[in-house]
């Protein structure tokens, strides 16, 4: 028997209809987009099957990728497959396209969405680091109106979001990568595909006249949420990328992060490799290509 035998399914045709369902306690339900997190959690019994599900998969209002007022706007219902192949994303937030290409496998990429990845609020979301380095803002909607919340304020903790019961994520607004800047994504998993990250991260950086003028770095799976590392970023601004900088950034990062041990890795490795990833990002930034 399916875990969902008793669950009612509502499929709104428009975003407005979805918001009206969410606003009314008699039609409110768990949002389902690609279902790649939820279906697994329900069937495994990790999460009880809800009384009602609102299926927002395919809503056109959630499916767009476009430039708007100088921001890269990505609908919450955009799939990993669409992200990795979007020329806008590849151009304006390349590490996000790279990250999308490492999510699960082809099937999960075809169904799973960026909204679901953030909506699931897991520290292992492969979408979070690249969104963080692009200063992403989550746009939330309800019948009461629109709220725009920067991602670090939206993801509050392990499985905790600043999302009211009548709200949903409509899209994310990203600052496009500045001209002359670079990005990179590095995922460490226990295998090459279908892997939950041990540690992963993204950076966005720029060097001008031999000195770092921009550096944003975010790591995942090292804390209850994905985190930016402002202390490292500030320490790096104005420095040349030399052996001392590399060593200093690596050590400082390893000192700052406080990862845990679990079945996928040890705290010791996670702490060490966090520093190594930052070193790798700086080497990437310094490399000629």
């Amino acid at each position: 028997m399916s875990a969902l035998e008793q669950t009612e399914l509502l499929t709104p045709n428009t975003l407005d209809e979805a918001l009206r369902f969410l606003a009314d306690e008699n039609t409110r339900g768990t949002l389902l987009c690609g279902g790649t997190d939820l279906m697994v959690q329900w069937e495994a019994g990790v999460r009880p099957a809800p009384a009602r599900v609102i299926n927002i998969k395919g809503l056109t209002e959630l499916s767009e990728i476009k430039m708007e007022n100088g921001a890269l706007v990505i609908g919450a219902g955009v799939t990993h497959a669409a992200l990795r192949h979007s020329s806008l994303v590849i151009q304006c937030a390349p590490s996000l396209a790279e990250a999308a290409a490492t999510v699960g496998g082809a099937q999960i990429q075809a169904l799973g969405t960026i909204g679901g990845s953030i909506g699931n609020a897991s520290p292992a979301s492969d979408m979070a680091p690249s969104l963080l380095v692009a200063d992403a803002i989550a746009e939330l909607a309800s019948v009461r109106g629109i709220r725009k919340v920067p991602l670090p304020k939206f993801i509050l903790g392990y499985r905790k979001l600043d999302l009211a019961p009548d709200e949903l994520i409509v899209r994310f607004h990203l600052a496009p990568m500045p001209v002359g800047a670079k990005e990179n994504w590095h995922k460490l998993g226990p295998r090459a595909a279908q892997a939950i990250s041990k540690v992963m991260g993204s950076y966005r950086g720029k060097v001008e006249s031999g000195r770092i003028s921009l550096f944003a770095v975010a790591l995942g799976s090292v804390a209850p949420t994905a985190v930016r590392l402002p202390e490292i970023e500030q320490w790096l601004i104005g420095r040349a990328i030399d052996a001392e900088t590399l060593k200093g950034a690596e050590k400082r990062t390893s000192d700052i992060v406080k990862p845990i041990a679990d079945i996928r890795s040890t705290a010791e490795y996670r702490r060490w490799v966090s520093g190594r990833l930052v070193r790798g990002f700086l080497e990437h930034l310094a490399s000629p290509s």
Partner: protein
């Protein structure tokens, strides 16, 4: 799926009978009809069951040839060759179907009985543990090319080159497939599969936590056979069941040692273990 037993057994029987493989049917084994042949162990199916069937097929062939000789060739020797029985004195041929039809009408279905016998030189004394406990062994040699990322200590197996002596190779495609599968399993054994016990329960209780290799982890594989047929049976085949999983993990351990200078002597070999041996001084 499966090890290909239902393909190679008809192949072996067809070979012993000198008939086309599509004349051979291989029913599901059922202990109502076949004797207990011992456990499914030690990669012995091809060598033991295959040899038993091969020798039985040769007996059945001789039985049919004797009938053809007597019923059709007035006592001149008959030889079954694919579609015909041939009178070896006159080269006269009679289609297989004609001989078979008449044989069944006159004498009913033909049965032969054959039992596997260990070659006489193979002796094992269970009391003193002296002798050969198995009549033959398959052998393999694996070379692993491994890359260890100096930034993160991630381990990637780039290529595996391997040679195998499994005796006479009955079906090269299936044998290669079995070896590819075994090497992939060995890759998981070497680099990722781990099952710990926490509070009396397995900590890796699901496929999410018990990590096995994906297609993307699987390296290029070069697989070749060196055939030294086993001399103790007419078939000459040994087994290819378990041998592919045996050698790759040590080969990977050696390659990782040659790349990093540290020896990990506990599987799986992980970046975490390399780090704790190397210290954070990379």
């Amino acid at each position: 799926m499966g090890q290909g037993t239902f393909t190679i057994m008809p192949q072996i029987v067809a070979d012993g009978l000198s008939v086309n493989m599509n004349r051979v049917r291989c029913p599901n084994p059922d202990t109502k009809f076949v004797p207990d042949s011992g456990p499914t162990v030690a990669s012995r199916t091809t060598m033991v069951v295959g040899s038993t069937l091969f020798d039985a097929a040769i007996k059945l062939k001789a039985q049919m040839e004797a009938y053809a000789s007597e019923a059709f060739f007035g006592g001149a020797p008959a030889e079954l060759n694919e579609h015909f029985f041939k009178n070896t004195y006159t080269n006269e041929t009679i289609p297989f179907e004609r001989v078979a039809d008449r044989l069944i009408k006159e004498k009913g279905p033909q049965r032969v009985y054959n039992q596997f016998k260990l070659p006489p030189q193979i002796r094992w004394d269970q009391r003193t543990f002296v002798g050969d406990s198995y009549p033959s062994y398959s052998w393999g040699c694996n070379v692993a090319e491994v890359e260890v990322n100096p930034l993160t200590l991630e381990i990637k197996v780039k290529k595996v080159t391997s040679f195998w002596d499994i005796g006479r190779v009955i079906n090269p495609v299936l044998a290669k497939g079995q070896i590819e599968g075994g090497l992939t399993q060995a890759l998981g054994f070497a680099l990722m599969e781990k099952m710990g016990i926490k509070d009396g329960l397995f900590d890796a209780s699901r496929m999410q936590t018990y990590v096995v290799p994906t297609a993307l982890d699987t390296p290029e594989m070069s697989i070749d056979f060196l055939e030294f047929p086993f001399t103790g049976t007419a078939l000459g085949a040994k087994g290819v069941g378990e041998v592919p999983i045996d050698g790759l993990a040590p080969a990977i351990a050696n390659a990782v040692e040659s790349a990093t200078g540290v020896r990990i002597n506990e599987l799986p070999i992980t970046p975490e273990k390399l780090l704790s041996k190397l210290g954070a001084v990379v």
